[in-house]
């Protein structure tokens, strides 16, 4: 087994920006699949100490997998996922958005060849796979603008299918209230059972339209474990649901134990007077994500 080291692009300039962005995208894909974020490592380690018996043995293997990937460069999970980018463009950072998106996509295809990554992306009807981990609409790219900022922030989530398949949306009625929201989240976690590879992060989207609600649920899973929502009402909902979920006994890998989820994160948007949408998007125990921030002076900083 040879480990493939990732060459990180650490500086860029206006002349080479789009070529560098493709290389940064490639590096982010490899990094996300091999180097789990520190908050995930902390949560896995804390769960290992909390669990006993066979549940603890399962956490031991997760800790071992993280260490094995650190040592060898082998990706942690074989599922290379479906790539989702969350890009924040500072209004003072000069970039051509169309070329940026093209570069991100190109980087994913490069990494697939360079690191012999399995191509997991197919046409939805013909199931045709062009072996690039890209295709029409993939990678998914979400773009936000940050007023006054002079940097470009790129977060990559290569989302595994085991957990993405455990996604749920319900258009509740206003009369269902908060109780209806909570019941739907608990029922979703029970329905998902072992399939999303627990311990999980449960992302909840509240409000918006149906599509915005689902996007908020996914965005919620990106928040580092241990960071509650800044607004007390939302933070309280998160804490109450986490406690209730961990009393269900689903446990690591859905085989029993006290750690079904590491965290519950919710994000919200205002909605219509006659609507009460709620979405659940679940992240598996690995919580893979990688971030690059490109500063105004051309420095490229990597994180999670």
């Amino acid at each position: 087994m040879t480990s493939s080291t990732t060459e990180l692009t650490t500086t860029t300039s206006a002349a080479t920006l789009y070529e560098d962005l493709a290389e940064i995208s490639s590096a982010l894909y490899k990094k996300a699949l091999t180097d789990l974020p520190p908050d995930v490592r902390g949560a896995v380690s804390a769960a290992q100490n909390r669990e006993s018996g066979l549940a603890r043995r399962r956490l031991d293997v997760m800790v071992n997998a993280i260490g094995t990937s650190d040592r060898t460069g082998i990706i942690v999970c074989q599922d290379t996922g479906i790539c989702v980018f969350f890009v924040r463009i500072g209004t003072e950072f000069a970039v051509n958005g169309a070329r940026l998106i093209a570069a991100l996509r190109d980087g994913i295809a490069r990494a697939t060849v360079r690191y012999s990554l399995r191509s997991s992306i197919v046409h939805p009807l013909t199931r045709e796979n062009d072996q690039s981990n890209t295709g029409r609409g993939v990678p998914v790219v979400h773009v936000d603008f940050v007023d006054g900022a002079d940097n470009l922030d790129i977060l990559l989530l290569p989302k595994g299918s085991g957990s993405e398949n455990m996604s749920f949306l319900k258009m509740l009625t206003p009369a269902d209230g908060q109780a209806g929201i909570k019941k739907f989240v608990l029922d979703s976690v029970v329905a998902a059972g072992p399939k999303p590879c627990p311990p999980t992060v449960v992302g909840i989207g509240l409000g918006g339209t149906a599509d915005e609600c689902a996007a908020l649920a996914k965005r919620a899973t990106l928040r580092p474990i241990g960071e509650p929502h800044p607004e007390p009402e939302i933070a309280e909902l998160e804490a109450g649901l986490l406690e209730a979920i961990n009393q269900l006994g689903v446990g690591p890998q859905g085989l029993g134990g006290v750690t079904t989820s590491f965290a519950v994160h919710a994000e919200y948007a205002y909605t219509h007077i006659s609507m009460n949408p709620v979405a659940v998007n679940i992240q598996c125990w690995r919580g893979e994500r990688a971030r690059a921030t490109i500063h105004a002076d051309g420095r490229v900083e990597y994180g999670y």
């Binding site: 066979l54 293997v61 012999s116 109780a179 029970v190 859905g254």
Partner: protein
């Protein structure tokens, strides 16, 4: 529980007495041969009725689709061999046991009560691996010894030579016991208390 004495070490193929002795809660490691299969492999076996020139009796199937690197001598080296969600391949369990003589299926997430009945009737077991820990599994594969149906890449029938493969946990056994059924029923039963804790009123439906 096997945790008191450490994992049981088994070689392959598995004999029927060994399979019958395994119980939910046992922890195992395997030395020998494990066969990699996925959706397309099982469709070819059972929907298309094709067979390979290899003796699979007493064998172990692993639900996987590996990343591999082709060697100059036309063999393959493993890049990442992980385990996929088993439930998608649930409808093939009985045929794997009855028609091919497979003794154990390794996967993640478990199989249905119908598969549990098949394990009871045909003396088979389901062994769960820790999902998402592919880097550990990949290092336990000594060699890819053979590949059948390469046109299905990466969903070919893979013959993996393994050492210290595990830990694997018996979660469905030949008596019909299933950890998934037990944990699922327990979670359903605890839901009522969780609803109450969160102030959710549920009418009897």
């Amino acid at each position: 529980m096997a945790t008191d004495t450490g994992p049981k070490r088994l070689g392959t193929p598995l004999d029927s007495e060994t399979v019958a002795s395994l119980r939910v809660g046992d922890e195992l490691v395997i030395d020998g041969v494990i066969w990699g299969v996925r959706d397309a492999t099982l469709i070819r076996f059972f929907d298309e009725g094709r067979r390979v020139p290899a003796d699979l009796r007493g064998g172990i199937f692993l639900h996987t689709a590996p990343s591999v690197r082709r060697r100059p001598d036309s063999g393959f080296d493993p890049v990442s061999v992980g385990t996929t969600t088993s439930m998608r391949m649930d409808r093939f369990t009985r045929s794997c046991l009855a028609e091919l003589g497979i003794a154990a299926i390794v996967g993640k997430g478990g199989l249905s009560d119908e598969s549990s009945a098949a394990f009871r009737e045909h003396n088979g077991v389901y062994l769960s691996i820790v999902g998402g820990a592919a880097s550990v599994q990949t290092e336990q594969i000594e060699q890819i010894e053979d590949v059948f149906w390469p046109d299905l890449m990466p969903e070919c029938l893979w013959k993996f030579r393994v050492r210290d493969f595990g830990p694997l946990f018996v979660t469905m056994d030949s008596t019909g016991a299933s950890s998934y059924r037990m944990v699922g029923e327990q979670a359903e039963a605890r839901l009522a208390a969780a609803y109450r804790a969160l102030g959710i009123e549920v009418s009897d439906e």
